[in-house]
Point group: D2
Chain length 504, copies 4
Amino acid sequence: MTTTADLQTVLSRCGIDLPRYSGHDISVHSPIDGAEIARLAALPVAQMPQVIDRATQAFEQWRLVPAPVRGELVRLWGEELRRAKADIGHVISCEVGKIVQEGLGEVQEGVDICEFAVGLSRQLHGKTIVSERPGHRIMEQYHPLGPVAIITAFNFPSAVFAWNAAIALVCGNPVIFKPSEKAALSGLATFKALERAIEQFGNRAPAGLAQIVLGTSDVAEALVDSPQIALVSATGSTPMGRTVGPKLAARFGKRILELGGNNAMVVTPAADLDLAVRAIVFSAVGTAGQRCTTLRRLIVHRDIKQALLDKLLPAYRSLRIGDPLQAGTLVGPLIDKASFDAMQHSIEQAQQQGGQLLAGGQRQLEQSFPHGFYVAPAIVDMPAQTAIVQHETFAPLLYVLSYDELAQAIALNNDVPQGLSSCIFSNDLREVETFLGAAGSDCGMANVNIGPSGAEIGGAFGGEKETGGDRESGSDAWKQYMRRTTNTINYSRELPLAQGIQFE
Amino acid sequence: MTTTADLQTVLSRCGIDLPRYSGHDISVHSPIDGAEIARLAALPVAQMPQVIDRATQAFEQWRLVPAPVRGELVRLWGEELRRAKADIGHVISCEVGKIVQEGLGEVQEGVDICEFAVGLSRQLHGKTIVSERPGHRIMEQYHPLGPVAIITAFNFPSAVFAWNAAIALVCGNPVIFKPSEKAALSGLATFKALERAIEQFGNRAPAGLAQIVLGTSDVAEALVDSPQIALVSATGSTPMGRTVGPKLAARFGKRILELGGNNAMVVTPAADLDLAVRAIVFSAVGTAGQRCTTLRRLIVHRDIKQALLDKLLPAYRSLRIGDPLQAGTLVGPLIDKASFDAMQHSIEQAQQQGGQLLAGGQRQLEQSFPHGFYVAPAIVDMPAQTAIVQHETFAPLLYVLSYDELAQAIALNNDVPQGLSSCIFSNDLREVETFLGAAGSDCGMANVNIGPSGAEIGGAFGGEKETGGDRESGSDAWKQYMRRTTNTINYSRELPLAQGIQFE
Amino acid sequence: MTTTADLQTVLSRCGIDLPRYSGHDISVHSPIDGAEIARLAALPVAQMPQVIDRATQAFEQWRLVPAPVRGELVRLWGEELRRAKADIGHVISCEVGKIVQEGLGEVQEGVDICEFAVGLSRQLHGKTIVSERPGHRIMEQYHPLGPVAIITAFNFPSAVFAWNAAIALVCGNPVIFKPSEKAALSGLATFKALERAIEQFGNRAPAGLAQIVLGTSDVAEALVDSPQIALVSATGSTPMGRTVGPKLAARFGKRILELGGNNAMVVTPAADLDLAVRAIVFSAVGTAGQRCTTLRRLIVHRDIKQALLDKLLPAYRSLRIGDPLQAGTLVGPLIDKASFDAMQHSIEQAQQQGGQLLAGGQRQLEQSFPHGFYVAPAIVDMPAQTAIVQHETFAPLLYVLSYDELAQAIALNNDVPQGLSSCIFSNDLREVETFLGAAGSDCGMANVNIGPSGAEIGGAFGGEKETGGDRESGSDAWKQYMRRTTNTINYSRELPLAQGIQFE
Amino acid sequence: MTTTADLQTVLSRCGIDLPRYSGHDISVHSPIDGAEIARLAALPVAQMPQVIDRATQAFEQWRLVPAPVRGELVRLWGEELRRAKADIGHVISCEVGKIVQEGLGEVQEGVDICEFAVGLSRQLHGKTIVSERPGHRIMEQYHPLGPVAIITAFNFPSAVFAWNAAIALVCGNPVIFKPSEKAALSGLATFKALERAIEQFGNRAPAGLAQIVLGTSDVAEALVDSPQIALVSATGSTPMGRTVGPKLAARFGKRILELGGNNAMVVTPAADLDLAVRAIVFSAVGTAGQRCTTLRRLIVHRDIKQALLDKLLPAYRSLRIGDPLQAGTLVGPLIDKASFDAMQHSIEQAQQQGGQLLAGGQRQLEQSFPHGFYVAPAIVDMPAQTAIVQHETFAPLLYVLSYDELAQAIALNNDVPQGLSSCIFSNDLREVETFLGAAGSDCGMANVNIGPSGAEIGGAFGGEKETGGDRESGSDAWKQYMRRTTNTINYSRELPLAQGIQFE
């Protein structure tokens, strides 16, 4: 095992002076072998007011820095991420168990979003609008919003921070980053790249522009509760969202919630089955099934179900499971034992609800890694969409359902409380467009001939229903990081009223 | 008094068969003379599930009706409103006490929004987006959302329903309208025009497409709590929003909250004082101070304060207060005694907090209208922005504050919990742009040389902070009435992954 | 024959006082029977300067009328068109020979575009843009352009004027309408509806806001040559565009050219052949093949060619050809003898170039209508895309070509000088998306499973290459009717230079 | 004189292997001292077909490379420009005489536009549009256009190529660059940076993606005339545009013309005169008056004219004129003797037309630089806007005009054939908004409190009237580099016709 030894060097190259963060509160383990790789100090919640005050003060200045200049900071960050890509990727692999390719891909998302945000920094377009009154005009402006808290989950410890921070910074907002305790080092490594960018950027960046808080849930709560935090962007479970959402609503704070997904693929008789199999494998077992966009439900037309399984099961059997740092590994470990137990529990439930385990489910490599939780990705054939299928199990567990008519497939796709991602495999235009149409998938993302995971940063990312309803990343998601203002300007010498009202 | 007699005829012309709605639950009074003008039956809350089911079923069909065809229904509604403008305006005047011009103006807003929505019905534009992968493309579509509940306040009993319903219908959503109990007839008159449009539109409109529920707060709560209601658009007080918002957040329901405002005008030495005085009078006393955008705080540069008051006080003294149906009246009655009492209480508080009553505040016309609550619009000079000034009193009560530097004026403008509307009177470009800029007014609307009230429907209407943070009416506010979906389409024979990930 | 008798009544109902326009210059014939239905005076070209001056003066006022108020005029016009729909449709049928349904459909396009333009009248959105300099902001405004000349062809004598004038008027521009001499009455009838709207609109419309000039090509040239005419929107042949375009370019005048089309349909093995046949028939023989978007080339996969022809030829044989005013007629007359001769000539050429006439081509009903030119829609099977196929023949003449690979079909589609409309019939997603993609159809319009003709007004209409390259009607085509201005506003007390230049 | 010696080193660092380009056709002189700095071979026009064919072939591949990947090439170019900024700036200074700051600023524009274009590379947004027909949808896509020719003038030898090429490349188009013969080396240096980027980018870039042609006007004509060149972006004089525009129109080629400007500043009594003076000096004498956006006309309110001149004339007198490579120099040489002669001629004309020379006009430093044409920037007070004032003289020659009413000032601003840039100095909101409004400046750019020159790349750059009417650089100018296509997709089993037409 070279992991731990290498890791210290890599962390140091990432600019993380580990002793500075050391403490007794947060124990970070590598899921690869279960070894503790760091023990960090948690920020006492009593210090949160100062943290938040610093961000508030930074906002006073940062909002007045021109957006293209703010973009220059984000450009520098992108350059730092590009430079540190291999190192940060390695930290991610060690800390959350992603295979090398996925660790690199996650950092690449950071690079991509920085470039996208730099482009935005000369746009942030509102509208000019014609007025019904002579000598008047209307315009809309988007202005900086205030401090943004970014609370992320373990499974995208780098990219989700980058998505949010790159846009937030360009939009004129300071950021406070609360990474998952399970992935604090990856968060830190990504944050350090930002710190280096800030250093190069110089004194145009106010103190307190970007802060990281390593801590436990009380720290996250302090951010959610503070009226000074204008926007909380929180990624995690639906129960978390159900707590955070109402708290923010009660104080009229803004939010971006990215919560659970229970993503389906519909495979129709008009599908390219080989393409479908490749997509299923990547999206169901990639990141060991621990993406919010992981494929969890396979809705196959009855006529092709067996043919699809005949291709899929061998593919599952040939998956290389093991040390994610090794070349050729496709499935790394689960994040921890709780995750493994939850998967076992779900398989049992599924079986009790009529399901038949077609593949996987067993623990792997227990001898080599007695404290690492590797599992063979599982497929369970279900007679119906029972309660357990409607529940998100954060592991490589794929349910198979069958359908006869497309309308049924769409109904199954939609009949879960979550609404993140979905896809259809078909080369039939009518099927495809129906799936994408008003009576089709009710998810925030609906793809065709690609799996539900692996979104590009150019589109808006997020989902409906219990997934939260908000969007981040591309398209016009930046608008959520700004406040909009409608301006009507009278430059005449008269005071006509709207709607033709006379009031004299 | 011709009000009541006339009213029956007018209601009948509006298509309201009063006996059909009669009951013992809701007593509607005219604020003009306090007379009861109708006694209506409230819908028992137990019937709400059926109401909501009807809307849910209507949605299944309506979402598939092409948007331009949906637009045709809204066009017909606009025509009906245009035709019934005088009548509905009259009902509004009788029921909530608006002067004739304002009653007409309110219906005109309905006409305007219908025309605007018809235009939208051939747009509802999403984006096509280039993909990073060969043989792929991305697009965003906006699809119908589901049943929309529209809960309105007494003060815009017609227009706020029209704003929401016109957009919601074009966007493919059925509507359920819960008007204020104090303004049920105005709501009903507006709704009847929609019913007539639906009748002409014929069987392309599913049953249950538009429903009105006359009832008490339990009916509104049923709408807020139902998971079938996709969007609740609620206009009212901040405490209401503080209840409704978290409930919706807890069930991941969408919302448009239009809550309290505490709108200020900054008058600088570079202002056209005559223009400012006219604007102050209209925006502070129009609708007897009962608009959410009513001017409540006047922030005047110390050097011109006296000059401004010297013009303003005589204008206030000359205001014609009285029967809103009479030509020439500018100030009608308050909605009820509670409103009058609240105003008196606020004046007292203001005086206790150092304020000096400069004008008005006394009850008027008590002899002629012993049960009508007419009041002389009040001006209170305040030494500082005390607690009462930060509080919204829904009556014609204007506080005067002074400032020395523009930055102070902006700080005063922003230092209230509400964030709806604001304005500056100045002909000085730097002052004006500073007020509109990133460090300027923090309100959803910031105007120049017009008062805070009287928005055109072309812009987005709504405010920040305790005002709710949402938008309705023009610009791209329609997006809140739809669900968005990001579609990535692979039409190649390959399955490249985003971010260049290799997974084989 | 009731045509002529009826027509006088209808014209009178359309508000056309025929004697007022009578003269000896322009002889209008009905293609139904070749009878002269009116003889009109042409405006002497010497009067064009006054016409143009009136428009120029009208512009001075109209540009300052708020856009939503301008929209009100267009709304009134739409109402007038709706009211006069049957009458104007009848005039169109009499004058250019469209069947009743198509005459009505053409007026409906006018109604639609008016509603669309009313919606635009509260938008005309430019952008607000962030600046790289502190205390600066950027915005773009769209302003009225100046007088717009609308020169139309005989085949859409009403809708094309409406498309252009509705948008032009809302954008703040006076219009001068030069209809085709062959369709002056239809133009006049449409224009009269606008005149009635202007009358209702009252004195907010300046004199000279909308003018019609009946005349010959010298009048059109006067418009093209006048530096006072800001925009010339001309519909007609490619040779016309080749003359007009350079003249406008030489004087830096703006233009919208809608020129020839040579529109193809690709039918693949994955097509719904019945749907395809219906689409072919409508788009190849509708308006007797005299739409700029008429289907002229059928590119069929070799494997299904015979099957398609087996369905298509009987459909062609069953077409009811005859008096367009009679219920059930699907194919009316050609506009005149020259058109008939050109078609005959093309058929001969095609045969000389290897083609085989599969259907039609013969004159019909010569006995009943010795001066009407009815023709059986023709189909010619071509061995290759020869010179005549690349040429637009404005008649119901459909060439059939075959292909083996989709890439060939696309190459054939693109290998003509025109670039207006195109379509593919296929239910195969890959085929469809390839056809719509970057290496697909090079036309301004590319449809799927609908014919090339019959565009909705919500999209931008127009084509590439010799079709002209410009757009009108929906989407953001309105921008061509306005001038844009980029405004950078410095409200600071400093004068920083862009790109960080120091200059002291 | 270190210029020439240094230059060889710098050119070599820029990657220019001078011998490779040497020949006898084009003699490049430094305006600093008139010395020949290179003698280059012109491409024989007979080779243009191959050049154009290479671009055409490159287009076949490049259009299919995903836009974000194309963006990566442009990102690399931006990096190369950033790295070579000082060197390319030096070449510009030597070759066209810009002062060091302006040379650097010009390269910075290239860097900026590359970053902007990278952002665009994940946007290139068309619209999705709702259809009036069930089971149909509409979308617009923007696709690559074809080879783009970029013909630039001497005065922005680097930035204008970068503006066009960065956008063109991201949009999927190969580029052919024809720099001014007077500034071939600066063009070459900028092009070389692109070549280096292409090399790093590797084989995803087809051969012929970017080509430079050093040559004379016949080479430019070959580009204008070739039907394979989809878009010609030409910067230069109005006479050039008057030739190029019609040629392109005749072959239906697309164009971006950036022609002459005659840019004015209005200074009102409400102006900050010190700010105005600084802006006048920079915008009138910067680049020795040889920007297309140079300030040429000063329109001052009569009441403040003397006060303004009292500040302006001393500023003019203190301008450091001389070797542009020397620190502190603000005014470098004119490009050549012809330019100097034209300026002298204009001054004479102006004097004959009533003007009074208030400052400058004389040749400077003739002793030190007998072959360099340095001139003292001139101010001529004019009694009226005579013919010479309406003419663009490409030199530091500023005319002063006076006005009494703002409307007069605007009329003067507009009463020239050109329409590029304009500005107003005023702190009076009404004046400013009037100037920016529908009846205000008719220029493509209208600024407030900054001069007419020095646009940021975020806005669209270009002008109306004889300036050409087109736009490049920021905002949505990218649309001109693409072809748009409207797609209507029927995924139903029916074939409804638009406008409700029945055709059975």
